[in-house]
């Protein structure tokens, strides 16, 4: 009876399972979807019923990175895919080789066990899956722990896909992938584009300054000069003090890079649709660079004050103050990272959800009147949100730069009594 109740509860957990299939209870089930014995996964290529609009799923899909730029309708701009699997070597190709035309960005081919789902490259977890180029039946999904994970069907069998590597190395589900992904994705492409634009802008302005020395600024010079003077007067000089000129290039690069990435992420169509600063890896990279810069320009006076501050009894220092200060050394860049990431991502999710109102009111195409009401509501709300987002883009770039200048100022502060 106990065994009966056990199998009944296991069946109840996974509603998608075919009732006639006997499910072995996964006692060895861990958070990694790919560790399941694939004969017990059930997914097929039958068309799915129309479900209610899932705003969260749509939002997270749109703010995520992808290997192909979705431009309009069925047009995708394929980007280079460069993957390295230790022991197997490189797989480089253009994303179009996955043959995803007219298929919502789902590839029809698997190449060296890599597949494309919704414009993103995944890998089949099963190492016995054939390598080289094979045609798969379709892209589907399996449900696991209440969440849906992508999977593919090949020759009638369901194959789970490796989850993307998470920042904790797989401790809270997901896991480390078996390959290194060096592809030019939407985010990389957008960063290179922003780099090119900023480089062009700064070089053009520099040339104008050379050609017209001492004259009133003209054109783009006005904008750039205002921004640079603002950073110099309001941010660098008050916070860093005497040696501000040493750090001006870094602060200006940081400010313009973050501002340009924030703004280009607000444009809803190509070339702006990459959500770069909303990607935690990008902000983490920025925070690591900033931390490296701050701690490498810190002088002895700073380290003495942080690690062994004068004027405090030794017991207090060892027990409380020094550990707290060391934590603070890590937490300060971490908050820089989180602040930028969360601000931008939250804004994008809200914007996409407001557009989703159209579909919710129109009940997925059933009601035109509802859809029109949704369009009006979404238009008003989105105009409001996008105005706020412009402000947020500016403020977040400014605050990142300001805090960096503040930390730099702390680090380079001279001895004063």
């Amino acid at each position: 009876m106990l065994a009966g109740a056990w199998t009944l509860s296991a069946q109840h957990e996974q509603e998608h399972r075919d009732a006639t299939q006997h499910e072995q209870h996964e006692t060895a089930m861990d958070a990694h979807g790919e560790k399941h014995d694939e004969h017990h996964l059930h997914c097929d290529c039958s068309p799915k019923e129309e479900t209610a609009f899932n705003a969260a799923k749509v939002a997270f899909h749109h703010i995520g990175d992808a290997n192909a730029f979705h431009i309009w309708g069925d047009w995708y701009l394929p980007l280079p895919v460069m993957l390295y699997a230790p022991g197997e070597g490189w797989t480089t190709m253009l994303a179009s080789r996955f043959d995803y035309a007219h298929n919502h960005g789902n590839g029809r081919k698997a190449i060296n066990r890599y597949v494309m789902v919704g414009g993103v490259v995944y890998r089949v977890a099963d190492t016995h899956f054939p390598s080289g180029e094979v045609e798969i039946d379709c892209v589907s999904e399996v449900e696991h722990d209440g969440e849906e994970h992508p999977a593919i069907v090949y020759q009638g069998q369901c194959y789970a896909l490796e989850s993307k590597t998470t920042w904790d190395g797989g401790l809270t589900g997901g896991g480390v992938t078996s390959y290194y992904d060096f592809s030019i994705t939407k985010n990389v492409f957008t960063m290179l584009l922003v780099f090119a634009l900023l480089a062009w802008m700064f070089v053009a302005v520099r040339k104008t300054y050379r050609q017209r020395p001492g004259q009133a600024p003209r054109g783009l010079q006005n904008l750039v000069e205002t921004a640079i003077m603002f950073i110099q007067e309001e941010v660098a000089k008050p916070f860093i003090g005497k040696h501000y000129a040493r750090y001006m290039p870094f602060l200006i690069s940081l400010f313009f890079f973050i501002l340009a990435l924030n703004l280009i992420g607000q444009i809803p169509f190509f070339p702006g649709s990459g959500n770069v600063t909303g990607n935690i890896s990008v902000t983490a990279g920025l925070a690591i660079i900033t931390a490296f810069k701050v701690y490498s320009s810190a002088n002895k006076h700073y380290w003495k004050h942080v690690l062994w501050m004068p004027g405090v009894p030794a017991a207090l220092k060892v027990l409380i103050l020094t550990p707290v200060e060391i934590l603070g050394l890590l937490i300060k860049p971490f908050t820089l990272l989180l602040r930028l990431f969360a601000n931008i991502t939250a804004g994008h999710i809200v914007l996409i959800s407001f557009v989703g109102l159209i579909f919710i009111f129109g009940r997925m195409g059933e009601s035109i009147g509802g859809a029109i009401a949704g369009v009006v509501a979404a238009f008003v709300l989105n105009s409001f949100m996008m105005a706020i987002e412009l402000l947020v883009a500016l403020i977040q770039a400014f605050v990142f730069t300001l805090l960096t200048a503040s930390y730099l100022g702390d680090a380079t502060e001279e001895e004063h009594h």
């Binding site: 989180l338 602040r339 990431f341 969360a342 601000n343 805090l403 503040s406």
Partner: protein, 39 residues
């Protein structure tokens, strides 16, 4: 607001510090938002 009223010529630094402090507090709120996404 009070500080600006007491010393209107110091509005520049006051504004900069106000924005900085607001962003720090917003950081705490946003950490809560991120933890909401995680859970």
């Amino acid at each position: 607001m009070d500080a600006i009223a007491r010393q209107p010529e110091a509005v520049g630094p006051i504004r900069a510090n106000m924005i900085l402090t607001a962003a720090l507090i917003e950081g705490v709120a946003l950490i809560a938002v991120v933890l909401g996404w995680l859970g």
